[in-house]
Symmetry: C2
Subunit: 382 residues, 2 copies
């Protein structure tokens, strides 16, 4: 008897990872590839982190840590909130997780019952929607456009968010890089409080901004679940270490979920991450590189026929409207990879409807690779 | 408005981790602690793994890997099946995961619909039951006793497994260490095939056996999901790297789940784990230490009043019946930690009913720490 594959397990791919796999296969054949598809810095972890990892490799047994994470790391994250946001966050409310990915799973399981409705902006990070679906939750998409700067607004919430139990915010956002102002964040938090909506704030791109700094939902809503990671600003994607700040009354539920679903986050990554907060010079230099790459793309891409972008306030993405070129963004990305070596992510990863005519470019690579990618795109003809 | 914590998110703790947290707090106060509670070797990773990690730290950017894992590691795992089990397993069916923990989440989501019933032996690893519950699946406990060597049998399946969709096996098992013979595994696999039951085989303790080697479900059932890890035999718990072997028709579902729920397993741990298969001398020496510790406990514990054990065929556990001492195993473990410094796990972690009068001892520590723990237990009076 052939056994079933479950319906609920059949979530859509994270297409950026599919493109990366195809790009890696192309590279393995000796062909050149410019990685603008996956949202990660081309740089590794800062030197201080590597040194801390090297020291821990010699010093520590590297067994399971406490399920909530190493106390030293939880204390360092608490100090980070004091320094960066002037916020006092008790280390006991800070949970170290295996990247932000595990934090989303724990947050969704702890906050929502099966069938609960959780709103989020479209376009948005596809894993929000796909994790929700896999966990029997109902994603409610708020169709955010240029008029809303691709972000959640009170108008969108009122129009499309009836009867929701949760709301996911991301500022700076993936795939657009747009941000929510402190005033708007405060209004949305107030709306959530009044309507009994659990706010989940994805703050993974904090620290990578080109104008005003980002505000944390912790400033406005003590019941928010705040999720962050060492992957982006701290340039540690493959280390798989992130964190969440949870309301005190949710802590034990999250601890039990972490014990059972993960046992502990990776030990070596945790010892290394403690050092990340002391590496701001090197990390800020990365951000200056992103800013340079962003300027370069905004200046040169129009010459390649790409000239309509969401305002990239932060993160390291340009979200390009390519409606004048195609309504098959996946086909376009496939052609571009194979005809130019430039790997991009089709907009359908982030917005299943309107994303047929959008693309996401990640500019966290080296400036020279971005220059070469742009040159390829400029010489390419649809 | 105070927001809810979901019912479904409120799963029981993994009590061994709670005990470890208490034991670590005691140690932080300068008191002595003997860690026999958590199932992990006191040794770190073998030298070859540490060297490989050190080399990768210098050489690699350590970004996201392919969601299914590094090809070099998938190939090394495939070669391991050829060498150890004379099985040809296509590397494309091997999925590297963040410990076996992530593999269970992916397997349960990919194989079962919400409400599906999944059978498992009681006593058993508590995370099976707790992950199933968190994912809206229904654990069906098969009450295995001394007569069944605490393992799943056909009789138990026929008596308690009506209408089940899945079955979890573990051999050697946690918390007992008992094993299923190749012949019994073949019969159970046949029963599953005839009844449309998806077999999930937890083979994490393979390699740690004191008699016959363990058989893999891959030898008997091509539709089984097999889960394993570098945590136990390979002595790499805190590295969080494991794997699963999935049937070809489940691969894409698991890949999409991995992309969305995890992005990728930890990169450094993967580079390091490739070297683990070349460290058998050091790892087999660990197993000889476990065997020595096991003999020591079986000889000395009766003098402390603990004299009824499940047959510890493999793994590094003794499961002790302490009905003559208590029907409150949690209270007993609490007292033992505070009065002797010996940390043990109460049986209710593994068997919520009958576990009130059982304890689990992990003997993966150093022989001297096991000796000292036994001395403390011998001088303790209930």
């Amino acid at each position: 008897m052939v056994l079933k594959i479950s319906q609920r397990g059949q979530i859509p791919p994270f297409i950026a990872m599919d493109v990366m796999r195809d790009a890696n296969e192309r590279a393995a054949q000796g062909k050149d590839v410019f990685h603008l598809e996956v949202g990660q810095p081309s740089t590794g972890a800062p030197r201080g982190v590597i040194e801390a990892a090297r020291a821990a490799l010699s010093r520590e047994v590297l067994g399971y840590t406490d399920a909530l994470g190493l106390s030293a790391l939880r204390a360092a994250i608490s100090a980070h909130y004091a320094r960066t946001h002037k916020l006092s966050v008790d280390p006991s409310r800070i949970v170290v997780t295996t990247g932000s990915s595990a934090a989303f799973v724990f947050a969704f399981l702890a906050a929502f019952e099966p069938g609960d409705r959780v709103a989020l902006a479209a376009p948005g990070y596809p894993a929000y929607r796909n994790i929700l679906t896999a966990l029997d939750l109902v994603p409610v998409e708020l169709p955010a456009g240029a008029g809303e700067r691709y972000q959640v607004t009170l108008d969108l919430l009122r129009a499309h968010g009836k009867g929701i139990d949760g709301l996911i915010l991301a500022s700076p956002a993936n795939p657009t890089g747009t941000m929510i102002s402190a005033a708007d964040l405060a209004s949305i938090a107030r709306y959530c409080r009044e309507h009994g909506i659990r706010l989940v704030s994805d703050e993974i791109y904090h620290g990578i901004v080109y104008g005003d700094p980002a505000s944390s939902a912790l400033e406005f809503d003590p019941q928010a679940v705040v999720i962050n990671s060492f992957s982006k600003y701290y340039s540690m994607t493959g280390w798989r270490v992130g964190w969440m700040v949870v309301p005190a009354d949710m802590l034990r539920a999250v601890e039990c979920l972490a014990q059972n679903l993960a046992v502990s986050p990776p030990a070596l990554s945790q010892y290394a991450a403690v050092a990340a907060f002391d590496c701001r010079d090197e990390l800020d230099a990365n951000v200056r590189r992103y800013a340079e790459n962003r300027d370069l793309l905004l200046r040169e891409l129009p010459k390649a026929g790409f000239d309509r972008f969401a305002p990239s306030d932060g993160a390291f993405y340009l979200y390009a409207d390519v409606a004048h070129i195609t309504n098959d963004s996946e086909g376009l990305c496939h052609r571009l990879l194979h005809e130019t070596g430039v790997a991009l992510t089709p907009g359908i990863d982030f917005d299943r409807g309107r994303g047929r005519s959008t693309l996401r470019l990640c500019y966290a690579g080296s400036t020279s690779s971005i220059e070469q990618a742009v040159a390829r795109l400029k010489s390419w003809r649809p």
